[in-house]
């Protein structure tokens, strides 16, 4: 499955490797479903990330809201969306960041929205 899936360009599937690689990031993000954890995240983001054992690289990706890098590190959108909920960041901006496009261009060229409409 993983090998075949790798033939679909620019489409990472959340497979065994991703699940293992991203476990800490995803566990940290999953916990943001709890209001108390959201409060801790807002109060001291780095301390919150430390409490889940994130590496320096993982921490910097989260703190910079580098969505593309978070996914590359095994973050799955459905979990890391909970970070965007705290901010809040619209999901289309997360899409645009991964596509390396300006937000307006992403809405128009990828999603087919009319410009200014």
């Amino acid at each position: 499955m993983s090998e075949a899936a790798a033939t679909i360009p620019d489409t990472p599937l959340f497979d065994r490797a991703g699940s293992i690689r991203g476990y800490r990031i995803n566990k940290m993000a999953m916990a943001l479903g709890q209001p108390a954890n959201r409060a801790a995240f807002k109060a001291d983001e780095e301390a919150y990330l430390d409490s889940f054992g994130l590496s320096a690289h993982e921490k910097s990706a989260v703190m910079a809201r580098d969505w593309h890098e978070m996914v590359r590190l095994g973050g799955n959108l459905f979990f890391i969306l909970k970070i965007s909920a705290v901010d809040p960041t619209p999901i289309t901006r997360i899409g645009a960041a991964q596509a390396s496009m300006e937000h307006e261009d992403f809405l128009h060229l990828r999603l087919g929205k009319k410009r200014n409409g």
């Binding site: 499955m1 620019d10 479903g33 999901i91 997360i94 409409g117």
Partner: protein, 280 residues
């Protein structure tokens, strides 16, 4: 025996619920989407089901990666909406069709499925949004629910054929149930969307429109497609469409496509619905 009164397919995009929460129903972005569902809501009012079987996937809200059931079935008395990170939503809890759900579990295991059986569990937008789309925002939901969770998040996800097979068992469970309830089956998820990777934002309107007709009139190719084919045609998250096959397999091979609706984009998704009834 209980009666299957219809099979519905629908998207379950979380932004749909958020749009309703924020009062955005009639904004230019959302009005065409919601207007197209009015015929589905009217169908549901006329059909008066007692039980809604909802086939959906959790999105990292109820299940974490510490335990990932390929298929899970709810047998709870009540399902509360889960906080997905944006805070609790003001929608009523869902009452479970407990005895019927256990009967379905019995049938599944008899037919060599091995579901996780969930006695106490919350439900995310995968179940909430389809219920809101077809029942609106009632004080209390007019039906009891049987939730079926399908893993579409972590690979390996089940094959389309396996989802189809589950639908045939669902039909058998409904037809062997001694009650006289009217049952509607909701297959949810899709249509095309991709949230992850540099192809994020991929929408395939042509494939989506073909799906809405094909799932009614010629579902065989979709049953035979590989998971990779789904990802390629519908995007990494568009592979959720395999869950519509559970619904479709529970229906007669000949169905009438009563209503269909398509709108893109709803957030980052090609969104749509079908209403199917068994042909006489």
């Amino acid at each position: 025996m209980a009666k299957i009164i219809g099979g519905l397919g629908t998207s379950h995009v979380p932004s749909i619920g958020a749009a309703l929460d924020k009062g955005l129903r009639d904004t230019p972005d959302w009005k065409p989407f919601f207007d197209g569902y009015e015929v589905g809501k009217q169908w549901m009012r006329d059909a008066k089901p007692d039980i809604a079987v909802v086939v959906f996937n959790d999105h990292g809200n109820t299940f974490f990666l510490d335990r990932v059931p390929t298929f899970a079935v709810g047998v709870a008395e009540t399902y509360n909406p889960v906080d997905e990170g944006w805070g609790p939503r003001a929608i009523p809890a869902f009452e479970g069709a407990v005895d019927f759900s256990w009967h379905f579990v019995d049938k599944l295991v008899e037919r060599h499925f091995d579901p996780m059986v969930c006695r106490e569990i919350e439900v995310d937008h995968g179940l909430q949004v389809p219920m809101e789309l077809f029942f609106g925002r009632p004080e209390a939901w007019p039906v009891k629910v049987l939730p079926i969770w399908v893993n579409t998040i972590q690979y390996p996800i089940p094959t389309p054929q396996r989802c189809w097979d589950m639908g045939t068992v669902l039909r058998e469970a409904i037809e062997s149930w001694p009650g006289d309830e009217r049952v509607v089956i909701l297959g949810t998820g899709g249509l095309s969307h991709q949230l992850q990777g540099a192809r994020a934002g991929f929408i395939n309107q042509a494939a989506d429109r073909a799906w809405l007709d094909g799932i009614a009139n010629n579902p065989e190719p979709y049953r035979a497609m590989s998971r990779e084919d789904y990802v390629e045609q519908f995007g990494s998250e568009g592979a959720e469409l395999i869950m519509w096959l559970v619904m479709r397999a529970a229906m007669n091979s000949d169905v009438n496509l009563i209503h269909k609706h398509y709108h893109a984009p709803a957030s980052m998704t090609g969104a749509g619905m079908v209403v199917l009834e068994n042909a006489a």
